[in-house]
Symmetry: C2
Subunit: 154 residues, 2 copies
């Protein structure tokens, strides 16, 4: 295992998203390079994520148990939350504690956005999506199970 890596040289994640349609297609402007996994880190994940113009980081969501943090490296993503929105720039950061505001990043600019995202891997997590007919539950094997809000599978 290498001691250190140029983050932009890290391999892109093969699976662009685990969302069901129509949410899967909404993630087509997003590319994730997992960084922490390369070094064998297990307690949290770190990705170098690129949002193409029009891309978004995820569906607007909050986690029940997992915390998230982002740091903008390049470009001007808009942080959209259920308590307002703000345009970010390189050198800005934001954190999203479990059960806090629902959030996602949207790239409304004409240039790519690059940011680091960190999230822990607390088991028993649930994802809530206030604007969409979607809910998620983290299975014991670490994969997300998505259903409609009435529990019907996708």
């Amino acid at each position: 295992m290498r001691l250190a890596v140029i983050a932009m040289d890290a391999e892109e994640r093969k699976k662009p998203s685990s969302y069901p349609e129509p949410f899967f297609t909404r993630m087509s402007g997003r590319k994730k390079r997992p960084l922490g996994d390369m070094f064998g880190i297990r307690n949290f994940g770190v990705n170098l994520t690129e949002l193409l113009p029009g891309g978004e980081s995820s569906i607007l969501h909050r986690h029940s148990k997992q915390d998230e943090f982002i740091y903008v490296l390049q470009g001007t993503p808009t942080l959209v939350t259920d308590e307002g929105e703000v345009e970010l720039a390189a050198g800005m950061c934001a954190g999203f504690p479990a059960a806090g505001v629902a959030h996602h990043l949207v790239n409304r600019s004409t240039a790519s956005v690059f940011y680091l995202e960190v999230g822990d891997r607390s088991p028993g997590d649930q994802g809530t999506y206030p604007h969409d007919d979607l809910q998620a539950e983290l299975g014991p094997d670490g994969t997300w199970i998505y259903t409609h809000k009435d529990g019907r599978p996708y």
Copy 2:
């Protein structure tokens, strides 16, 4: 609570180090700006850390349970480990899984180094310092207890 923050505007941590002497003084070239705490994140910590010329990130160490990750924003720190060393530059990252190689960053350059550091907060963690007469145990209140390697207190 603000939605987002310019990381360099975050307040510096008041206590420069929790090490006993003579290790405390060795940390005088290090400044930490806690970022995650500002947003109420608890499962992991994120700091924007500056190393002045001659500064070092910590004593060479490994954790027993906690993972660590760093991403270099500016400058050329040297990553020193018990399996070799490498000079880093902006855009490079490294990860240190629990019970992995012992490591620290040293700034041998003439300019400040800035990097992001991430670490989780797994309880029951221990710190091992292969080159120094120091060991550490994370107390139930989240503070570190440092002793000599034979258990005598500092």
